[in-house]
Symmetry: C2
DNA sequence: GGGGGTAGTTGACACGTTTCATTTCGGGCG
DNA sequence: CGCCCGAAATGAAACGTGTCAACTACCCCC
């Protein structure tokens, strides 16, 4: 109960505190018999190292933090998994924080992390532009890596995925499937992701007919339902035969609305989503989707961070951009393997 | 860059370190002019408190930790939200950790947390029974609250939801809808949750025909697809007209398989899930589901923890059990509002 | 037998706080 | 004029660890 310190271990093992410390850190030479005595004493007393004291002495912690934008979003939990794996590999711990898109909360977390003298921070900031908070961290010697945020900033590394390319892949696929009337569902366009994905789509369609815009106020399933309604309400000869959605939530909403209204997917309307969250494949009609290498994103970010931590002198900031990948499923491809195998 | 301490602040403000500390903590009486000088010095030097030192002095941290079983599962992110809100309210920070159902990782996190002298721990342990790790924490004066785990243990509080009642609600509902041939899909039964939900279902069916068991090896969408296949493969006159699934992932898998095979939901087969995750309502056919008060679970757990932290003397361990709630949607109810409004 | 080397151990100091008993100072009161 | 009091500020101690120069004891070798 009463907290036992290294001193009492030393007393019990009849050695000096220095020796106990040496045993704990495997540092200098300690005789086998002494080591044994110390270890026994530790076990008997139930001694637990005091991390505050170690940290105070060392000047820095042995932990990195990840501040996620919204942990309810599977995207970030996957990034987190990647980060955890890389951190484990690098011998450091990861603490997870959730800003929940709240700048105040984010600020509070960051303040706390500076005070903790954390090794480094992975973060998807609430405000893409305004990053005075982050500069402050960097000034105090805490490396920061941006996740899923392009950075024009040379003071830090970043990892992101090429959203224009993602939109392009979706567009190409739909064109190849013979679609001409294509809609883009998503918004607001102030989100870089949305704008980029849309830009990729229009680029892929080249000089053909441009996509119809169905703008939503956010990227939720509810917003997707609204978009789906808007689309199905169109006269059939104007109605798009394919919808590319800015993310999978929108896509699920569109799918739900279509199903409710008896519009068949993919027969009447094809759907392609974005993110390839777990529930995309799990939808009643499995969703085609543009997959981001989420785990890899987390791994890469952590590796960059650790590199900067371990070799601050030689480290060069880098901006890594990953390529997304289109996963075709039934929602945009009438003859998908699943269906075929069923025919026999 | 060079880390600035309270000493340099004192120097600059021409006061003693004690005075700076007093200003920082609003402790004893400090003359307005002096306070001003100190605050200015802090701002000019960009001083940041060293939390390790504070903690070392104070003997304990100002943070609680939540160790989640699987953050990819929306259930836990919702619990987390509740915990964050309650913690914010109580003036402490929450650090999130993810064991990912890996006992080794869990153990590592717990060890780290003891070393950090964390205020307390909310945890859904990997192994429901074997909790030596947790006892160790408690022995060292770190309160532990179990989340979503019943506890026969009197050394700690717990919060959980009544799964038997949940199963009962589902069963009652399906019986009222006129179903007689009902299946239960889920597994393994070694999970208390699964066993309890099944027990509730059978109890609700009373002396009527007992549910057909479709056992799965885990609670994933893929497992649900398997269950769906097994059910649709039955001859029509034996086939259940309703399926109660041990969780929503199973339910989504069943729904997907039914859709693929042309079995109409709810017309041919009704489905009720469990958990009411966000994607249950977002499914092509919105899923009926038993909802757990997830946020409330997190809030209650945190409140119990803080109570124990703040009044260790008078604190009595409690085991709070919440009541789940059935949310009826289209998948088990042919005439749901959404459909009706469409008719006009 | 003495010098020197080495493996093993020690003890004091520093890290940045908070705390608290003590000191300083100015002014009011007898 | 001397005394005392309270407000304000001080300085040293303590928290638990890691580090490192210094010390001890022992053995080897010439």
């Amino acid at each position: 109960m009463a907290t036992v310190s290294i001193k009492e271990v030393a007393l019990r093992a009849r050695v000096s505190v220095g020796t106990v410390s040496n045993v704990l850190n495997g540092r200098s030479t300690v005789a086998a018999a002494t080591r044994r005595r110390v270890l026994d004493a530790i076990a008997e007393l139930g001694y637990i190292r005091n991390d505050s004291a170690r940290q105070l002495r060392a000047g820095r912690s042995r932990t990195v933090a990840m501040v996620a934008l919204d942990l309810s979003n599977p995207f970030f939990t996957d990034v987190m998994h990647g980060a955890e794996i890389a951190a484990e590999h690098g011998g450091v711990n990861v603490m997870i924080f959730n800003s929940g898109e709240d700048p105040v909360r984010e600020r509070r977390h960051l303040d706390m992390l500076s005070q903790q003298r954390v090794l480094g921070v992975l973060i998807t900031p609430v405000n893409e532009a305004h990053d005075a908070n982050l500069d402050q961290l960097v000034e105090h010697g805490i490396p920061v890596v941006l996740v899923d945020r392009g950075s024009s900033n040379f003071h830090r590394c970043s990892v992101a995925v090429d959203d224009v390319l993602g939109g392009h892949l979706a567009g190409e696929h739909l064109r190849q499937q013979g679609h001409h009337r294509i809609a883009f569902a998503g918004g607001p366009f102030s989100l870089r992701q949305v704008a980029d994905r849309h830009a990729g789509l229009t680029a892929a369609l080249g000089d053909g007919p441009q996509p119809r815009l169905v703008t939503t106020s956010n990227l939720s399933v509810a917003a997707g339902r609204g978009a789906g309604r808007e689309i199905t309400d169109l006269p059939v000869d104007e109605r798009p035969t394919a919808v590319f959605c800015a993310n999978d939530l929108i896509a699920l909403g569109v799918l739900q609305e279509m199903t409710t209204r008896g519009v068949r997917v993919p027969h009447d309307v094809a759907i392609v989503g974005y993110d390839d969250i777990e529930f995309a494949a799990a939808a009643a009609v499995p969703l085609s989707s543009v997959r981001q290498p989420r785990e890899q994103l987390g791994r890469a970010a952590t590796q960059l961070l650790l590199e900067e931590v371990n070799e601050p002198a030689t480290h060069q900031h880098r901006h890594v951009v990953f390529r997304p990948e289109l996963v075709v499923r039934e929602s945009s491809s009438p003859s998908t393997p699943a269906k075929r195998s069923r025919r026999e």
